[in-house]
Symmetry: C2
Subunit: 384 residues, 2 copies
DNA sequence: GGCTGGCACTCGGTAGAATCGACTGCTAAG
DNA sequence: CTTAGCAGTCGATTCTACCGAGTGCCAGCC
């Protein structure tokens, strides 16, 4: 109604984002208290907390102001106050101490990355478990997309008289495969010849950009090549997406007490494409935390998402994230995500350390985020 | 107290498992009603249901008997009755109509298996989604173990001067890989030579039983072979287990209203080894349904598990399962699991249809179920 | 002017009493 | 053996009273 009135009533030179020191201290106290207890916090409790040197009456009037400015809300008239998304946002941006992992946890992380072995998928999956363990929140790990990796080897392996497997090894160590069903028997030599030809043509190219495959002169072999080419194209289409690993989804059932919330958040996590988009969006906006409605997902409005990039030798290769209630322990979550993301990047980099120039095709992400695909696990229906 | 009394009171020649027709009809009515409404069901409702031609008083006295025999319980004195695990068991064994999928669902299944494409993992994953969609319960799909498949191809692909990828193709179309880090630069020819040698030695053997690898005469190549052999061994160790795919876990949050139950069931599903063991156990005991405490898992005591085998050309290759509350729609769930399991087996078989004799190494499972490993997704802690 | 103590007020949560109603078990009659 | 009738049980619901945490406001103090 009277925005001017509103603005003059607020004191000091703040412009929307700024709060004077005392308000900030009170807001911080409210947020940390609420994060700890999940109970609306009242003025008296705040007045007693260290760092606040005024009476509860003063705290009350400050709280009224904070409520007007949208940092706090009262669930009902005679209750304490709880932070709004904006309140958490201010807390995260200005107040929370950087957040450090305890020595025990640091050690756990170190030991994990020393011991972890196996191929990328396995490592990413384990990492999602680690992150979830560290924080008690659900964790997601998004692996690098293979779109920029180049083909290092192509092979056709016969599995039967009329069936073969197209095996493609990429420069980043990923292996893609696709079965090819010839309707007629194909002799082993033709298979081998076709494989060699495919290798010649595709080697060094990016998976999405192989072909045309030309001819070999031998029509039998060419027939095989043609079939395999189709499989190649299908590979390029299907495997363009990132893989998503979710760790500790059961943690959601601890973080939220409403079974409805659990259900809707779980069903979001089942749609891997959505998860990838979500993390990407947050990172693209230069954030490491998205609170409540800050990301566009209705179903996640009671969640906060903490994201950290995973970069392999300087180029962004994926992301790790945490999903918890808005009243999550941001300091800890940020620290954990950040450390794990970084260590994971280093670890993945180290595996490729001995890699040649093929690896550094690292063209930066093109930035567009439409058309991305991810392997779906679970329901594929677009959310309800 | 007086077992003889007990036994003589019951009529007819039953011995523990059998019930006379009227008791059975009443039990069936109680179970189906309870499955539908989740409310304790009283004698009056049963007396009205079609097929029951006696008064509520008679129903009551029969219910007393059924309670004595352990098929029903009363949550409290003045409430109706609900089935016990034993009650569900009898229902499943004797009463439930075979259960048929509706035409729409049959069609959905058919269309799914016509359209589904991609490699095994993807297909299994999608299948778990399908099954969950059909039934509204959480679904699990366990893929075949590779232990009986033989090696069809071995290749060493250089990813960098000192790094290579060992790529092993198995007769069932699976591809296993492992990166090998030589501490010195290895020329391309040595890699190729070592790869060829490995292929020679391993081809046709089972993954767990390759080696020893002998020598090639060239010490440089032998060094590479030795490193790769270690990777081979690691593969054999790691990839012995089945893969597990969970579809629609969010359905658990619909089926159960206690958030605690949701949490504990979810955390079971996170431990893939446990899931494999569970399904195996049930199948090994010749069952297709395990109700409540029938499987040994405390955390799943409020669940029922429906299992159907997936067999590829006669030999057991995996399983599909459904996880829901004990008051699940058994008829529908059984039908869905059975159909999907069978179709999946046929579909997987069709892919290998053109396969040669290598495929039919199908030695039956050895039956032991210790030492099995599964890729873990999520937490790895042994249950709480 | 800003801070504080005091006070009236609000309102969710809890406890207890009354009521309701869906069951049951029992019994006596058909 | 079945059935109608009846007394009894006990969870669920509603209502009331009450408590207490917490608020907003105000008058007085520094």
């Amino acid at each position: 109604m009277e925005p001017v009135e509103e603005r003059t009533r607020a004191e000091g030179p703040e412009r929307g984002q700024l709060l004077d020191a005392r308000k900030a201290a009170i807001l911080e106290a409210v947020v940390s208290e609420y994060i700890g207890t999940a109970q609306p916090v009242g003025s008296q409790l705040i007045a007693q907390s260290p760092g606040i040197r005024v009476s509860s009456a003063t705290v009350r009037s400050e709280m009224v102001a904070l409520e007007h400015e949208g940092f706090l809300v009262q669930p009902h008239t005679s209750a304490g106050r709880i932070p709004t998304d904006k309140g958490y946002r201010f807390f995260v941006d200005h107040l929370a101490d950087p957040g450090v992992l305890g020595p025990a946890q640091r050690q756990k992380v170190s030991r994990f990355f020393e011991q972890v072995h196996g191929e990328m998928e396995e490592m990413l999956e384990r990492t999602s478990g680690l992150l979830s363990d560290l924080t008690s929140y659900a964790a997601v790990v998004v692996g690098p997309s293979h779109t920029t990796a180049s083909v290092r080897s192509v092979q056709l392996v016969g599995l039967g008289p009329r069936l073969a497997l197209l095996v493609v090894v990429l420069s980043d160590g990923a292996v893609e495969k696709r079965s090819v069903d010839f309707s007629v028997d194909v002799p082993e030599e033709d298979l081998r010849a076709a494989g060699a030809h495919l290798h010649q043509v595709a080697n060094g190219r990016e998976l999405g950009h192989v072909g045309p495959f030309g001819t070999t002169g031998d029509p039998d072999v060419d027939a095989v090549v043609a079939q395999a080419a189709a499989a190649f194209a299908a590979l390029g289409r299907d495997e363009e997406g990132e893989q998503v690993f979710v760790g500790g989804p059961s943690r959601l059932a601890v973080a939220f007490d409403a079974v409805d919330t659990v259900r809707s958040v779980l069903s979001i996590l089942e749609q891997q494409l959505v998860v990838v988009t979500l993390l990407r969006d947050v990172l693209d906006r230069g954030l490491s935390v998205a609170i409540g409605a800050e990301h566009g997902f209705e179903a996640l409005s009671s969640c906060a998402v903490v994201v950290a990039p995973v970069s392999i030798e300087g180029h962004e290769a994926g992301a790790v994230g945490l999903l918890g209630p808005t009243r999550m322990d941001y300091g800890h979550a940020l620290a954990a995500a950040q450390v794990v993301g970084q260590r994971l990047g280093e670890r993945l980099g180290a595996t490729l350390e001995a890699g040649g120039p093929g690896r550094s095709t690292g063209a930066r992400r093109t930035g567009g985020r439409t058309g991305r695909r991810a392997r779906m696990r679970g329901d594929e229906r677009a959310g309800t």
